[in-house]
Every structure is written in C-alpha cells, then in structure tokens.
C-alpha cells in the first residue's frame, strides 16, 4: 500500500473529464480530494491523495499523463523554524489545507504535518522566511 499526494492541472478542455471516477474504477485507487479549484472553460487545479498498490498508482499516473493532464508529485516536506516564529499568522492566510492554523484561545501557530500538501505557498508568505522545503527521507 502506498500513498501519494499529487497536484493535477487540467487544461480548460479537460475540466469535465471524469478522471476521479476512472482512477477508482480502473486502477482500484482510493482518492481523497484535498483541494479543488475547477471552473468551466478555465484551467483547473486539483490536489488529491492517492492510496493503493504501488503498481496501480504508477499506472494511474501514466494514464493521467496520456490525458494531457499535467501532474506534480509532492515529495518534499515542510520544515518550520518554530523557535524564531512570532506567530503573526500570515502563512495561514494562504494554506489551502489548514495544516497551518492559528486559532483561539492562544493564537499560537500550529503546523499539522499530516495535513500539509507541500504546496509551498506558505514559504513565500512567511514574512520572516521561517518555512522551508526539505526533501523527504526515504521511507517517510
């Protein structure tokens, strides 16, 4: 069993293509949609987590590529220099999965690695530059 976070970019002509259904039916994958930004006749973005046999995931990615849908694997991990953080909250404003959150009552920044899509938006949004992309270790 393997899990892979993938960003998919649909060209306007493909936004009505039932890709998720086909991934489930033809490749036996479990699909978890983490973020979606799809509009008719516009380039669409989808971030999904695919779970299944490694071979099936590889075949599914090949299939996606054949449909002219671009994909990008999130194979890094985010690091946060917590000790330097001032907990301003700017990073939370762009985090699509709410992996970075700042909530009542204490308003401390919290980072939930499990929820992180490794999209990298927060890296530039952090005014103190305390978030970085690191390569994931093997097996992680």
């Amino acid at each position: 069993m393997k899990k892979e976070k993938v960003s998919l970019t649909f060209p306007p002509s493909k936004v009505t293509f039932p890709l998720m259904t086909l991934l489930v039916r033809n490749f036996g994958l479990e699909v978890n949609i983490l973020h979606a930004d799809i509009h008719l006749n516009k380039t669409g973005k989808l971030i999904v987590e695919l779970s299944g046999e490694e071979e099936n995931i590889d075949n599914a990615l090949q299939f996606i590529k054949e449909q002219d849908i671009a994909y990008h694997l999130f194979n890094g991990m985010l690091t946060w220099q917590e000790n330097e953080c001032v907990h301003c909250g700017a990073c939370t404003s762009v985090c699509p999965s709410r992996a970075l959150s700042i909530t009542a009552p204490d308003f401390y920044l919290r980072f939930n690695k499990e929820e992180c899509l490794v999209c990298g938006l927060c890296i530039k949004a952090c005014p103190l530059k305390l978030l970085h992309l690191a390569h994931r270790e093997n097996g992680a």
Partner: protein, 384 residues
C-alpha cells in the same frame, strides 16, 4: 469624576502597591464588578501590539572619521539611508530595499541586525569640502561603536485598520499579505482588545510625552503620528470603524531587543518592520474603566477590496475575524491575522510586571493628541 490622578498611581507603583492588569484581564474585571468598582480596584491597564509598521526607522550618528567627511550618500549593508542632514547623521527607513539583494533584505533587516549587535557595513560618499575633505569611506559600524542610535517611527500603533480581501480572479500581493482570488481569504492587522489606542479611544491619557514600551525598552510618544485621523467614523463606545489615530514613537535602539523588533518581507511588496509596543493606561475614573474593558466583540472594522477594482466594503467585528471565518457573498471565507496576539500578550504581561516592580512609571502627557481634525488630505495632481 476623577477617582485618582496619575501622580497618585505613580506613588502606588513606587510603593509596590499598584494594581496592574492587562487589557484582556480588565474585560472580565469590569464584567464582574461593574466599571465604578473596577475603577477603584484597578490602577493601570497594560496594552500591547506586535505588528508590521512600515513607517519606522532610525537615526544613527556614526561619529567622525579622520579626516572627516560630510556624508551626502550613505549605504548600510547596501541599503540606502537618508543623509541629507548633518555630516555623520543618517536615517535608515524600514522599507528601503537593498541595492544588491532587492526585496530579500531592507532597512528593516539593517535595524534588526543592528539591534542583534552585528557589524553593519557602512559605505558613504561626499563631494568634499574645506572643512570635510574626505570624499568616501567604507567601514563597519555596530551598536557599541556609534554614538546615538534611536528609533524614530513617524507612524506606529494605528488605531484600528481595515481588513483586506481580493475580488479579482488573480492572486494579489500586498502589504496586507497574499490575497487569494475571488474573495479567497481575508487578512486583518491589529491586536484588537489589547491594542493601545483602542483602549484609550478618545486619547484621554495617551499623548505627547507618554512613556511607552517600544522594542523591549522604554520610549516615548513624540507627536501625533502621520495620517493621524481622529475624525474617522466611530461606534458609540468611541472606537473607530477603520484607521484613525496614530502615534510617532521614539526610543533608544541600542537598548532594544530582537525579541520585540523583527524584519519582515511581504512577497512582491517589500520589507517592513514588526515593532512591539505596549502602552500603560491609567484608570483615572469610571469612564477609563469602561474604555479599557473594550473587547473584540465591540470593535468593528471594514473589510475592503485591496485590488481597488470594486468598492466592496463589509463591516465585521474582531470577534468574527478571530473566529477563523467570515461570510462574504454567502460564502465562508477564511480569515488570517498579520499581527501577533502571542507577542501582544507577551508585551502586555511584561509591561504589567515592570510596572508592578516599580521599574516603569506612568507619565502625564505634555500635550494631548488632536481629538478633532479635518479628514486626511489627498494628493491631487496640481498644476506646477
């Protein structure tokens, strides 16, 4: 009717008998005891804010070289400082960008590095005069080898601020952070119920000469800040529904700490400076007890479209903004702060401790801030 004077409060502080609470603690005290009793119980309320404040900078006097130079152009770590004043004085502004690193480093970083005790590369040019013959100099400076270095911030502590969103279909990059397309997020920037001027909304106690906590040390209110706009629309509790009063602050930069002054970069906007400020408010009477008990549910601001493409405006409370979501056009939109509540609380608590220990006395303003004034002027394109 006055319950006590600032002199009486200072006497209590000196004797270690003053009752000092933070602006957040005051909310419950007034709720439980009523303002009349609270005014008798509490002597001082401490406030705090830690926000990006672009209109910040510092004057530094470098000392004279031999032979001397009348510096006409000055760079600190490749960031230009204003030198159109006396021979070896310069003003480094927080938002000035590095000539070699662009937006990655700016005047704010020079200030943070200076406070951290690092060596800063000084480069200066001149045309040379009979009395100042040297035409250029390159050296290093730090906080131990310059003369005066004082932060002088023309506009800090904005009394409330508009929250920001973006109506367009592309991401925009602003001093209010990254704003996602189609009302994708809302950012806001005050410490709300802990904010200094929101706890003294009519400037009864904070004025010119008021001693403040700034950047870890004691400083002063030098004047009304630039764009001070007391005529802003206000709620019945006196708090403005948008940007209103401001403070020009001054403080000894050599005594500051990077715990309370940090350089910041906003993507595709530029650099700015997080400044930590705390102001003690004397609870002189029942009215000040009511004012210092203001809470986020009673403070309003407007969400505005920072793209400038629409006149969108929606009034919300800070309680709604702090909940993490607001509703815009029937859509749940995530909100995010840009001003640190963690740091604001740290400052209010530290100031409380310093007053309790008798290390920080209150001041009576030499002059009050303007409470009524014409609204702000616009810069029109005028004939020349």
């Amino acid at each position: 009717m006055s319950v006590k004077t600032i002199d009486e409060i200072n006497e209590k502080i000196s004797e270690g008998k003053a009752v000092v609470v933070t602006a957040e603690e005051m909310i419950d005290i007034v709720e439980e005891n009523g303002p009349k009793k609270a005014a008798q119980m509490v002597d001082v309320v401490t406030t705090g804010t830690f926000s990006p404040m672009c209109s910040s900078g510092a004057f530094i006097n470098f000392g004279h070289s031999s032979p001397p130079i009348r510096m006409t152009r000055v760079w600190l770590n490749d960031v230009m400082a204003y030198a159109g004043i006396a021979a070896v004085d310069a003003y480094i502004g927080a938002t000035e960008l590095s000539e070699s690193q662009g937006m990655a480093y700016g005047g704010a970083h020079v200030i943070e590095d200076f406070i951290a005790g690092k060596d800063i590369r000084l480069r200066a040019e001149s045309y040379g005069t009979d009395c100042y013959p040297r035409k250029s100099i390159t050296t290093t400076i730090n906080k131990d080898n310059v003369n005066q270095a004082f932060m002088f911030n023309p506009r800090n502590c904005y009394q409330n601020y508009a929250a920001a969103t973006n109506s367009t279909d592309r991401t925009i990059y602003t001093y209010m952070g990254t704003l996602l397309p189609n009302f994708g997020n809302v950012t806001y920037c005050t410490s709300g119920q802990l904010s200094p001027l929101l706890n003294d909304p009519e400037y009864r106690t904070i004025g010119i000469g008021t001693r403040v906590f700034i950047g870890g040390t004691q400083g002063y209110v030098a004047f009304q800040g630039t764009q001070h706009d007391p005529g802003q629309e206000r709620m019945p509790n006196g708090t403005p529904v948008g940007p209103a009063g401001t403070l020009a602050l001054i403080g000894d930069m050599k005594k500051m700490s990077t715990r309370f002054v940090r350089a910041a970069v906003y993507e595709k906007y530029g650099t700015t400076l997080f400044v930590g400020v705390g102001i003690p408010i004397p609870v002189l009477d029942e009215d000040m007890a009511v004012k210092t008990a203001v809470s986020d549910k009673d403070i309003y601001t407007k969400i505005v479209d920072k793209s400038g493409k629409t006149s969108f405006s929606q009034t919300v409370t800070y309680q709604e903004l702090r909940s993490g979501f607001v509703t815009i056009n029937n859509k749940k939109v995530p909100t995010a702060p840009l001003s640190s509540m963690v740091k604001a609380r740290e400052i209010a608590l530290l100031l409380k401790t310093r007053i309790q220990k008798g290390e920080f006395l209150l001041t009576r303003p030499a002059e009050l801030l303007p409470r009524e004034a014409n609204r702000l002027n616009k810069l029109d394109i005028r004939g020349v």
